[in-house]
Symmetry: C2
Subunit: 448 residues, 2 copies
């Protein structure tokens, strides 16, 4: 099972090698020591948000569920591990029948998070959980970074549509995940056909400067485009002279021209001039799309400009200065023995020099104030206080190895809008600041 369950056409191949070697060597050593089967709880969290950010956005959860289901060691993979002598034969035998059989709880995709939020919790034997560290972190760290940038951009854009067009600025498959995360964070469409194919995200695009340059005259290029794509197309008007191109565009397509795109220059100034010119030419309904090196600040600075849509590339797919999150995957509790009934013991690294964490399996709730606005992220161990029981954030994602929470991307996208709207208004300020709500720790009886 995988995304195909949602009617999408793409199977996910084995994800078992998206793994750091130490996960397999730890498995081998634990199998030999008799500790591999100790029941264990791993949690994904981040110690801090990227500097200046007010909130984080959970994204990639759906991809994690696919990756966990497709985490299998087939003959080719086992052959590789044997040939390279990465682990011993007993470990290879154990891997051959690997199938995650534990439980995963986590923040639902699209939810916001804060420092210390237990974004995902993976529970099962040490052996089956330790192997998932890298693939889970890869997905969540990448996708959440993109979604956070997208969310800021969609706030800045107000209701105007945002087009994701950054595929050329990032790894070709990271680009597909970036489109998906951008959609979660509020983008409207993508230029990336693979993202349309895999995730059913609306795709857009008409022409580049190369198309104008291919033809003997700009006029010929516009005519060719309108002839083939119709009057409702978007003509790119900044290859030579913008004013002349706009005039010609309306001459050729008529006032039904769908849109013009501006990809260079002083966008604020040019957008005003082009709007005035279009209106004077009777093309009052022709839209203006701008697409040059935008980020959330540039988008915000165009709020009062006559711009109808933004195309965003580089700054989106690189997380607008923060291309990754700092989520970690830590063992927070484990059983005293391999006996399935053995009690859990909270554990945590304790050396000097930072990187410490709080042991024990955690719950999380977002406490609202009297007006329903979030006022604190409460993270705790032990029993959940009754007044917070209705505000818990974690949901069951995998139960006994079966995915129980697969959902359409539009559901995720809507959840993000709701989650962000429930934060204090200052959450969507673009300026640098502290997390918009504090994280409070409520440490109860230890860990289980």
């Amino acid at each position: 099972m995988n995304t195909a369950d949602l009617g999408l056409p793409v199977d996910v191949p084995s994800t078992a090698l998206f793994t750091d070697q130490y996960e397999l060597t730890m498995l081998q050593a634990a199998l030999k020591a008799g500790t591999a089967e100790r029941r264990s709880v791993f949690e994904v969290f981040t110690r801090r948000l990227p500097e200046g950010r007010r909130y984080g956005v959970v994204a990639g959860t759906g991809r994690v569920l696919d990756a966990v289901e497709n985490f299998r060691f087939d003959a080719g993979v086992l052959g590789f591990l044997r040939e390279r002598d990465i682990v011993d034969e007993p470990t290879l035998e154990w891997l051959a029948s690997y199938r995650f059989s534990g439980d995963i709880w986590g923040y639902p995709e699209g939810e916001v998070y804060f420092p210390g939020s237990p974004i995902m919790r993976v529970e099962g034997s040490f052996a089956e959980c330790v192997l998932l560290e890298t693939v889970i972190l890869s997905i969540l760290n990448h996708d959440s970074a993109i979604a956070a940038a997208a969310s800021r951009m969609s706030s800045a854009a107000g209701g105007r549509p945002l087009i994701e067009m950054g595929a050329r600025r990032t790894h070709e498959l990271a680009a597909v995940a970036a489109s998906r995360a951008a959609y979660v964070g509020g983008f409207t469409s993508t230029s990336d056909l693979a993202a349309g194919f895999r995730y059913n995200i609306p795709t857009v695009g008409t022409s580049a400067h190369a198309f104008t340059l291919l033809h003997d005259r700009e006029r010929d290029a516009f005519r060719a485009q309108v002839n083939s794509l119709g009057r409702n197309t978007t003509l790119l008007v900044d290859t030579y002279d913008v004013a002349e191109a706009v005039r010609m565009a309306v001459e050729i397509a008529g006032p039904e021209l769908g849109a013009v795109r501006i990809d260079s220059g002083d966008l604020l100034l040019v957008a005003h001039r082009v709007r005035q010119q279009l209106d004077e030419l009777g093309a009052g309904k022709t839209k203006i799309i701008v697409t040059s090196d935008l980020d959330e600040y540039a988008i915000a600075s165009l709020a009062a400009a006559p711009v109808d849509a933004y195309g965003v590339g580089t700054q989106l797919v690189t997380g607008s200065g923060h291309p990754t999150c700092s989520m970690v995957y830590k063992l927070v509790a484990r059983a005293e023995s391999a006996d399935p009934r053995a009690p859990l013991v909270p554990v945590a690294k304790k050396a000097a020099g930072g990187k410490t964490s709080i042991g024990g399996r955690k719950w999380a709730a977002r406490r609202p104030d009297a007006d329903g606005v979030a006022e604190a992220e409460v993270v705790g161990t032990g029993p959940v206080p009754p007044e917070l029981a209705g505000h818990q954030l974690q949901v069951e994602l995998v139960k006994g190895g079966d995915v129980v929470a697969r959902e359409p991307l539009d559901t995720v996208r809507e959840r993000h809008v709701r989650a962000r709207a429930a934060l204090p208004l200052s959450a969507t300020q673009l300026s640098r600041g502290e997390p918009v709500i504090p994280t409070e720790y409520a440490v109860g009886r230890s860990g289980s």
Copy 2:
């Protein structure tokens, strides 16, 4: 054909949808206008290096060759394009038999580059070349960004080994490409098993804090690891108290202990203390590996410390502040008509507001001074001056659609070492500065 030709086990699936929609709509319009078959020259170049960087590193070329060969529109892909009404039936028919049949020249992988360097040149009909824009840029922009960071880190590390361990900080497949690019840039090994599987890069890894925390005592964890992985293993010594852990590590493994790893704290201070302690314990050959949030500056600051290897994660896979390059793919010349004998006309965008470029098919040479040290990147159109003929940079990569320049990754890695060594010494200064050699333009007779 693909990387499997090098004895590697992985086929590359169709890459045809790693494409921005506008490439297909331009194709449709050009087919209808009769301009699609005009012979065209596209070039990949960058207008600037990331701020402060002295040189760029070409990486991903081998992956581009795979991607071009596997750029095919199968039934599933065509069905998607039809169903979503992205292009019309004549275009779908044309795509069904798509196979790139043109020529590609470029800087060989591992070579360095500068602003304006024509890193890759794709020549064929407009139709067949325009489709490759996004996939080529995705690969080169991502891989070159990682290789540039890796190259700076390997300079800073001197001869000490560098371990790539950033998989968890980037998209799971970007991570595999990042390992490959890091190896090109001078890294020694990777923690990422998929990178070992796909590209035969040496893999390493032993244990994480979770392994220590799984066991009742640190002593039990160390014993379990040594029992299973041998005395030559690397023990992680900073879960609780470093000095106590080092003492215990040597007690358990003996002076044959392979290495200790330090993943937190003041690395300079701790490395010195640990070295002294190991020496006093008779473990003079036990190595010290450090792995905490390193970048090229932190690596350089540890040059005088008793460190034997560096593990680098986040800062490597995010390009150490520059997660992408700004390479573009521009039409620089095209025929006057669809006649295959029609002469080429240089073309270039000319609107105000930047983003202009120089038309015409370009050659490139790196001019050495009397001592053989590079003194300028010379980029020109027209005939190559005789004195530069022996210093040309571009090589033939694809001829009439066939890949002619596939090579093992070790060849690429060695080329990078040689290319960097031929630059002025200041190339490897880590401080911000201008490109270490200037780019000179030698514009000859126009364009062809």
